[in-house]
Amino acid sequence: MNLATIVQELSLEVRCASENLKNNVTGGYTGDLLSEVMANSHEGNIWITRQVHQNIVAVASLKDHAGIILINSCEPTQDTLAKASQEKIPIMVSNLPAFELTGKIYNLLEKKD
């Protein structure tokens, strides 16, 4: 499943790098501790977090994440947007809390696979 499908199904708002919504999503990881995400997430994952600062872009880029979804309508900072655009990492915003968003994405990925 690609990002565009998830964006459409869950009415996510795309904030940058929309040219990369074709990215394939292999799974997901939910977390706000950057070391934990570094250690345990995988290539192609969608990362669900409430961290909005620019360091999330480096983590997503280093781990080759498909994209980042911010929960609870959290907005990325300007620095984050600039860096994510440069690194071509799509950042999306959801109005759902982490638990619900993670569950919905999990179900979408299970259904398609």
Partner: protein
């Protein structure tokens, strides 16, 4: 500080890290990952190097005044040496424990300082050496094997 001993260095490059500046945290790791990818290293080698380098870089930014990363690529290994000028680590055994952290509130709010850094570095390195001198700084040497 001594450079890792080796007979056939095929590539070597050094990178500078500015302490306290989270705006550039991760840039060295991203550069090293790009270099390794361009050299067509296997995915797991690139992944391990990215993790150990990133955690080391965050440690320098979080705690030290400045640091240098020396990347050395040998035929069989990638070595990442990180030397910082900083406060040093009073108790290395304690610092290596998962969950132990001396990070301040600002660092924790960003999602760092969970006490996983050094633990992850050791876990993802095939060989790991750490030494530290109080008031001077810390040196990490991580070796990732290329061939299994």
């Amino acid at each position: 500080m001594p450079v890792p001993e080796t007979d056939h260095i095929s590539y070597q490059r050094s990178f500078y890290i500015e302490g306290g500046n989270f705006n550039y945290a991760g840039i060295v790791s991203t550069s090293i990952k790009s270099i390794l990818k361009q050299m067509d290293f296997p995915g797991d080698v690139v992944r391990k190097c990215a993790i150990v380098c990133y955690e080391s870089e965050i440690n320098v930014v979080s705690y030290a005044r400045k640091g240098v990363v020396n990347l050395t690529i040998n035929p069989d290994t990638v070595q990442i040496e990180v030397i910082d000028e900083g406060p040093g680590i009073p108790n290395i055994d304690q610092a290596m424990q998962q969950g132990y952290s001396t990070a301040n509130q600002k660092i924790r709010e960003m999602g760092f300082g969970a006490g996983m850094g050094l633990y992850n570095i050791k876990s993802y390195s095939d060989a790991f050496i750490i030494s530290s001198e109080l008031g001077k700084g810390t040196r990490l040497l991580m070796t990732i094997n290329i061939k299994k």
